[in-house]
Symmetry: C2
Subunit: 451 residues, 2 copies
């Protein structure tokens, strides 16, 4: 038979079983936390009609899109989960209760240039809250608590949710009469950390033709830092000069004001006037999340408030707020910087039964009893030597091995070996499920991230 | 702005939130049951290199495949989960411990002619156990218990797992000297229910040129029915004439013999000599699963034993046994025949908090406390009238509404309304989480299928 060399495409993540188990644990945690905040799961097709997916058209994204024809149909693979959401809400408007809170975890596709840590197929894990015509600021205030809870449950403690409000920025540039240049200014100022104060100043006063006074004012404004109280207090000084700015201030103060009740410690939160989230799409609160000590990683969870989710499909005003996690990239990064935990059990089974007799009916009955108690159980039924069986147990990393030989069967018992200690104990068959179940429940809770 | 009419492609399932919640419940149940039997989760790309995916080549499948180019790459979307598994095992052989038990639930793509109940994008939910060179018959014996457990947990009781063994069939036709025609015979005999005894007889003796005596023997053989004991006893009569037949008999007897220990009631199991599973791929035990009273639905879970998983990629002999559920089709069918339960909670939250004051800090603190206890909680923060808020609660179907007005806040309490009974009770804020949590735990366990 002619053989084909099996390979996986570059830019497509495919994990070993142990890493996949960690990935599943992370995905399950995200689902659980999103559910805890009242989001409903949604699933949309990976393939959409190209005219629907590219309604917004143009831009960098379009070049990266996987687009092809099948029969007469012009098709494309989704490149994010927001456009499919917009389509879904516009199509199903009458069926939905607003605010509509949905989460979606799914694969998206971008034909980026292949390089380390860049993926062409990757999971996004999104939540969005969509209002019908209007949406309370409280929804924006709630988002940091979801991010906080999520990363905490994953095992991360050293992270900061950075929050800003686009109305503050828009209002501020309006005050200076620089509204038209606001986009260019924000893009420039965004490079501050990368290129430094002097080069930013040079671009502002040179390329953008802004007066030295205004440029200084801009750099002064975006360098406001400190505790929430300090930042808000510094911003107070600008109030009363521009309605949009004042609205942004109120919103930011509201978001910061509810933090404690939402259970978010101030150390995991920062008001940061440099956060703009590029796109013109966002209109209110914007979010980024950084892992402390890993500035090279960038934001691992970002999003914000927008006013018009589905303008390309409907004339209804559908404002919303949402965040997105690039899950595949996050997993790659956590692995890369050594933050994935070794403590989390990744074995496919809690117990491996080794039948030492030809008639395996006692082993089968034991497996059935263990499974009835919710213990993930595998029977090793290959006719191998004991040593090979134990080697298999070790490779899987199963916590317990249950040995059933003639002696055990005669005694109505089973020998249970704790693979972490090596201790072996003979337990009556009827007690085996309880014994293993209790031992498993005593194990410390492990999280996928370990700092 | 020019508007595009939002639409979803025909043959692509996209569910309303309530149905999606049911679908998630079914998917989670499948994952849990597969995990209970010691299968590890696997995730492979949706896109593969066309040469890898089509290594086997030809046939009906190839025409249906979504295949396209991106840059210089000839790509295709996976059309099942077996070929990606074969690729994965061949590529990662050295990393895996055998038997390798994996489950995968993922979308696959086939450009079938669009018609009701046919999907171009659909989930498959597969398990496979792959051996290295050999694989014990016990793995084949275990499969019916997994199918039984799964459908039972989904809420189905009236179903039958039909089991046969390909060696029995191969051996039987060999006895009659009809090996060369075995494929044609099985395809003909497979139509028995559809076209009737006489037409089958006519094809066998006419088109296939089989003697009337042999044709009668064939029809007699495949009409052997009864309890497991009766079928095995009838098969006894053929033993000793053909080694392959005898091996098939032993295997079938072993599979049937362990049923009780695996916890499978005989009423959910039938030895059925008409099951052949078309393909030449299968070499041992084969499985189909039928919903009783719905013969029009066909098999909802099928599979079998095969000897050569990855011959197109490697010269290692990798035998296996696996089953596959066409999950999207199963969901469609359950909905269509009215088997989806209305009892299963599909609300995105267990509790909806209604803040009746401008300062929502008490409501936020309550939400945080409820979520801390694992209660899925949403705050309704839009400035709507009470009636509109309750209408929202009703549309979502949340079991509990927690009302926090000035009176409640002054009393350190919250009014909890049980939406199923309409009863409202004032509970202290500190007791609210326990109160709701207890009430939720008293609710009867609901399953996604209700007969």
């Amino acid at each position: 038979m002619e053989r084909i060399k099996p390979h996986t495409l570059s830019g497509f993540m495919e994990l070993t079983p142990k890493k996949q188990a960690l990935m599943e644990h992370i995905t399950d945690t995200i689902k659980r936390v999103y559910s805890l905040y009242g989001f409903t799961p949604l699933d949309t097709p990976v393939i959409e009609s190209a005219d629907v997916l590219l309604a917004k058209g143009g831009g960098e994204t379009e070049k990266q899109i996987y687009r092809f024809t099948k029969g007469d149909s012009d098709l494309a693979l989704r490149f994010d989960l927001t456009v499919p959401l917009a389509k879904y809400v516009a199509m199903n408007y009458a069926e939905l209760a607003f605010p509509f809170r949905r989460y979606q975890i799914g694969k998206v596709y971008r034909g980026e240039r292949a390089q380390r840590g860049r993926f062409r197929e990757f999971y996004q894990a999104d939540i969005d809250i969509i209002g019908d015509g209007e949406l309370s600021i409280m929804n924006e205030a709630e988002i940091p608590s979801i991010i906080y809870r999520l990363f905490t449950e994953l095992g991360l403690t050293r992270f900061v949710i950075r929050v800003n409000n686009r109305k503050l920025l828009t209002g501020f540039y309006d005050m200076l009469g620089l509204s038209e240049k606001a986009g260019d200014i924000m893009r420039t100022v965004d490079k501050l950390e990368k290129i430094g104060h002097d080069k930013v100043m040079a671009i502002l006063t040179g390329d953008l033709d802004i007066s030295a006074g205004d440029a200084n004012e801009i750099l002064g404004f975006i360098s406001i830092t400190g505790t929430n109280a300090q930042v808000l207090s510094a911003l107070e000084a600008y109030r009363g000069r521009n309605a949009t700015f004042d609205m942004g201030y109120e919103e930011l103060a509201t978001v910061a004001g509810y933090l404690a009740d939402f259970g978010v410690p101030e150390e995991n939160f920062a008001l940061d006037l440099t956060i703009a989230r590029g796109l013109d799409y966002y209109t209110g609160t914007v979010y980024e999340t950084q892992i402390t000590g890993h500035p090279e990683v960038g934001s691992v969870c970002s999003g914000g408030r927008y006013d018009d989710l589905a303008g390309y499909y409907t004339d209804r005003k559908l404002p919303g707020v949402g965040i997105s996690i690039g899950l595949t990239r996050l997993f790659f990064i956590l692995d890369d910087v050594g933050l994935l935990s070794d403590d989390l059990p990744t074995a496919p089974a809690d117990a491996l039964i080794l039948p030492m007799t030809d008639d395996m009916s006692h082993s089968v009955a034991l497996a059935t009893a263990l499974r009835q108690r919710g213990i993930r159980t595998q029977i090793y039924s290959e006719p191998k030597k004991f040593k090979a069986r134990m080697a298999y147990a070790n490779r899987l990393g199963v916590p317990f091995v249950a040995i059933l030989g003639e002696d055990e069967i005669a005694a109505g018992a089973v020998s249970v070996k704790d693979m972490s200690t090596g201790a072996q104990e003979r337990v009556s068959v009827n007690d085996a499920a309880g014994y293993i179940s209790d031992a498993l429940s005593r194990r410390p809770v492990a999280r996928p991230i370990k700092e």
